[in-house]
């Protein structure tokens, strides 16, 4: 037996990994499919054995050179019974559910199941001395028949799915002219998630093409509980056309633990609380507010600005806070300080050293590092490490790594 694949638009079979494909001569099988080769006298199932057999076959029929094409007379579409008597039938047991119908599995079970059970019973009932050899004789049959029956159990959900999909697709085919609300209602009534997803994608494409009311359509989808469906294509289509205005005002939002993210269109972003207008594909800060995620327009630099202005600012009708009552001692607040120290130590070591807030003795490591930082820039990193250790207390290298991870979106390059 062999799988039929496609190469250069033609059906081929590959008998072994890393070997050449074999093409068909004359009538061509469908790809993908399962075929059975009838090569009398074949000694093995490897590529070389089969190729040699085919070359000899063609030469006997007067063809010169080495031809390995599979002639029409040498193959047929596989039937389920083939797994019992083909040399390599066991290799295909796992894939049978893809190629055979539930009806074929049922026929196979009726034909081979009872006789196998009978033979098994007979073997089990033999005296202990003969039992092992009797069971061994049944080993290959059990493996293949049992495997085929198991494949039938996997075919069952597949066919249920197929039937539901066909039924749903018929309903979709009768939808008629585009009417967003009606199509959404039909979508919610479908049984199969794949077809639902297909229809949602179609609705999205139509909404974009016709300049339809996206917020109203999305609200209807949520109302019809379609928002629990994973629909990436829907958001890919709608994303560039979505307006995401702010929908939260008059609140105090603690951004100390906010993380910079690149906003991607999703049900989650659409239904989230938003401070200021959010743009798909741009950076925003993601924070927790009232146990819910909130998106705040801005990048990580907004956190530094808030901090520089005493810890809070008014923006988009809300009070944005960094390092508030709860956030002062968080790692996130400390990471902002780490970034500041690290930057100042590199570009302005004196200002960085002043952050200590007191005069240090001449022999202090920070004083020494500052003195050497002017002549040798490698000492600036050492100065930063010492300052971070003294002022923040987190391992400097760990802190730098964490700080980078907090600004996932802001990796712009100016080149």
């Amino acid at each position: 037996m062999a799988f039929v694949q496609e190469f250069a638009g033609k059906p081929v079979i590959r008998l072994q990994w890393g070997k050449e494909a074999l093409f068909f001569d004359g009538k061509q099988p469908v790809a993908p499919s399962l075929v059975t080769l009838d090569l009398p006298g074949l000694k093995g199932t490897g590529h070389t054995t089969v190729s040699d057999w085919l070359i000899a076959y063609h030469q006997q029929r007067g063809k010169s050179g080495e031809h390995t094409d599979i002639a029409e007379a040498l193959w047929r579409v596989s039937v389920l019974d083939d797994i019992l008597d083909t040399r390599n039938g066991s290799d295909f047991v796992w894939h049978l559910s893809t190629y055979f119908t539930l009806g074929e599995f049922a026929d196979f079970a009726v034909k081979h199941g009872p006789s196998l059970i009978g033979d098994l019973r007979a073997a089990i009932e033999l005296a202990r001395k003969q039992r092992a050899s009797a069971l061994r004789k049944l080993d290959k049959r059990v493996e293949r028949v049992g495997g085929a029956l198991y494949a039938g159990t996997r075919r069952l959900p597949f066919e249920i799915n197929e039937l539901e999909m066909a039924e749903d697709r018929e309903a979709v085919a009768q939808l008629g002219a585009f009417d967003a609300m009606r199509w959404i209602d039909v979508c919610a009534s479908l049984k199969n998630d794949t077809v639902k997803r297909e229809l949602l994608d179609k609705i999205a494409a139509e909404l974009v093409a016709s300049g339809g009311d996206l917020p109203a359509a999305l609200s209807r989808m949520i109302e019809r509980k379609l928002d629990d469906l994973y629909a990436p294509e829907l958001w890919k289509l709608l994303g560039p056309h979505l307006q995401l205005p702010g929908n939260l005002t008059g609140e105090a939002i603690d951004l100390t633990k906010a993380r910079e993210v690149t906003v991607t269109a999703s049900w989650h972003v659409w239904t989230a609380k938003r401070v200021g207008p959010i743009k798909i594909g741009r950076a925003a800060l993601m924070a927790t507010y009232d146990k819910e995620l909130v998106y705040v327009r801005g990048e990580r630099k907004l956190l530094h600005s808030i901090r520089a202005r005493g810890g809070s600012i008014q923006r988009w009708g809300n009070t944005l806070v960094v390092g508030g009552r709860k956030g002062e001692n968080t790692v996130q607040a400390k990471l902002l300080e780490v970034e500041r120290i690290d930057t100042l130590a590199q570009v302005d070591p004196k200002s960085a050293a002043r952050l200590v807030g007191e005069a240090l003795p001449d022999a202090h490591p920070i004083t020494t590092a500052l003195a050497r930082a002017h002549a040798d820039p490698t000492w600036r990193r050492i100065l930063a490490d010492l300052l971070i250790e003294r002022l923040v207390g987190i391992d400097a290298d760990v802190a730098r790594r964490l700080a980078r991870a907090q600004a996932g979106s802001n990796r712009r390059s100016r080149f």
Binding site: G9, L344, R381
Partner: protein, 539 residues
């Protein structure tokens, strides 16, 4: 006498060991080459942006230290080769020249910078963070040059503004605004007053300044579009100087007009976009514009790019051309293949061939069964311009082909997978159907041994590590590997991209599935050769 890859690599390894060079993962241009002078190397390879282990401030501190230590002879040599340096470094070297009062040197570096950077020079003197950093760091107050010499800087800015074309002043008006604000700049004369007005106000004063076109057209267009009527906009634009595409798209965007939308004048608006885009911008926007580009647009864009690159010698990196081509949807690829890609490929081949001086021929080695189209294209492009041969390695044996040319490959650049496979099957036979990365290393070594050690060798053999091949590569002078390097002294890894799709690993066993995307390798090849030439000139 040029230094050659072996010598440049040796110098890099030495400098790396001494801590004078950064590891390649901290280099913006990750080349393990050194002229022997850390300043020269850094100015060509170290971008001042965050890398694997260094943040932007650390790069800047290191770079400024190197620049400050540079001798006048070193600075003079760099000024002579300013075009080969990264823009950040040109700017830092210009800053140093400013600090030292070396005005001729300053002008040399500034001349090599794009206008956006030139106009930001005062900003960089007074508040370097605003120009060199991104994000919150832009506001970090520090200076690299202790005394900005404000009066002299204002005088120099007069000089810069006088030379600046209207297009640059329009595109970079916020840069001009920032620089003028930091300088407390008082505009001198009608032209500067108009520039000041353009930067700080509505720009109405540019109307009377012909030298500031297309700024005046832009202002009129903006006013015409106030009502949202694109007919008035088009009337202003007709016959006037072309606006920069960014300004034009900005005008449309602020009025809610989309080129893919349903404005009654959308066709004319699209025509203008195609008309005003520069060659590079045309390439960058090809994918975005693909849904509405007509045959006339394609012809216009192709002529524009061909004219700029082939006739005027404008240097658009080959990588940009290939990226734009690959990013375009399949139907557009077919339409731009002959008018745009083919002439550029031939031009690129001729240019790159010049960077690979004799002895030849250039030999390409790749597996017969897993032909990578971009590597294949690279071979074909070079084969069209210089003697070249192809060594196709099989599971058993290797075929040397010299009769495969650009014309055969070009036809298949826009093929669907099945068509490409059909062609490979016809050209290379049944081995092209094998899905395996097993090579006959003995046959390959034999083939390599027959090639002149001084001739260039390009290797594209994925998923192989062989000491036999390494042995064969040891005496060779110029080996360009489009995959992971074998480690020969004369070998340089161009680029490689492998992605792990799946892995199962335990203590004593592992199973991994990889996919390979080395498209960048072929397109970076030209960039590498150009850099190599620059290293050799400065070594």
């Amino acid at each position: 006498m040029t230094a050659g890859i072996k010598e440049l690599k040796r110098r890099y390894r030495e400098n790396l060991a001494l801590g004078r060079a950064l590891p390649t993962h901290d280099l913006g241009v990750p080349l393990p080459l050194s002229t022997g002078n850390p300043l020269f190397d850094a100015a060509m390879t170290e971008k001042l942006a965050t890398t694997t282990t260094l943040d932007a401030p650390q790069h800047i501190a290191r770079a400024w230290d190197l620049v400050k230590r540079a001798s006048s002879a070193e600075r003079a040599q760099l000024a002579e080769h300013a075009d080969a340096l990264l823009n950040d470094w040109k700017l830092l070297l210009a800053l140093r020249a400013w600090e030292l009062g070396a005005l001729d040197e300053l002008r040399g570096f500034i001349r090599a910078l794009p206008w956006g950077w030139k106009l930001a020079f005062p900003t960089c003197v007074i508040s370097p963070g605003a120009q060199l950093f991104t994000g919150w760091r832009k506001r970090v107050a520090f200076r690299l040059v202790d005394d900005p010499k404000f009066d002299e800087l204002r005088t120099y800015y007069h000089e810069l503004l006088a030379a600046a074309p209207g297009t640059a002043l329009l595109k970079y008006r916020s840069t001009v605004q920032q620089a003028m604000a930091l300088l407390h700049y008082r505009p001198d004369g009608a032209r500067e007053t108009a520039i000041h007005d353009l930067a700080f106000a509505r720009g109405d004063a540019v109307a009377g300044e012909a030298s500031l076109e297309p700024a005046a057209t832009y202002v009129r267009a903006r006013d015409a579009l106030k009502s949202g009527d694109s007919t008035k906009l088009l009337a202003v634009l007709e016959g006037g100087p072309a606006l920069p595409i960014t300004s034009y798209m900005g005008l449309l965007g602020s009025s809610g007009i989309k080129l893919g939308g349903k404005d009654p004048n959308v066709q004319a608006l699209r025509d203008y976009a195609v008309h005003c885009a520069t060659p590079v911008e045309s390439l960058l926007r090809m994918k975005e514009w693909s849904p509405w580009l007509t045959d006339a647009h394609v012809a216009q864009l192709s002529t524009k790019i061909r004219h700029a690159v082939i006739e005027r010698g404008f240097d658009i990196p080959f990588a940009k051309v290939i990226k734009a081509f690959l990013a375009a949807p399949q139907p557009l690829r077919k339409r731009i293949r002959d008018p745009l890609l083919v002439p550029l490929l031939r031009h690129f081949g001729a240019r790159v061939a010049k960077l690979l001086p004799p002895p030849g021929p250039i030999t390409f080695v790749m597996p017969v069964n897993v032909v990578h189209l971009m590597s294949f294209l690279l071979y074909a492009v070079l084969a069209a311009a210089a003697p070249a041969r192809l060594v196709l390695v099989k599971k058993r044996g290797a075929i040397v082909k010299t009769d495969f040319g650009l014309d055969q490959v070009i036809e298949h650049l826009t093929d669907e997978r099945a068509d490409l496979e059909r062609w490979l099957l016809a050209e290379l036979g049944g081995t092209s159907t094998v899905q395996d990365y097993t090579y006959d290393t003995r046959a390959l070594v034999k083939a390599i041994d027959k090639i002149d050690p001084a001739a260039p060798l390009v290797l594209d053999l994925p998923f192989i590590d062989s000491m036999d091949i390494l042995t064969a590569l040891l005496p060779r002078e110029r080996v360009f590997n489009l995959n992971t390097a074998f480690g020969a002294p004369g070998e340089i890894c161009v680029a490689y991209e492998y992605y792990q799709q799946f892995a199962l690993i335990d203590k004593g066993w592992s199973y991994r599935v990889w996919s390979r995307w080395s498209d960048a390798a072929a397109s970076r090849f030209a960039e590498l050769l150009e850099r190599l030439g620059q290293f050799e000139r400065l070594a």
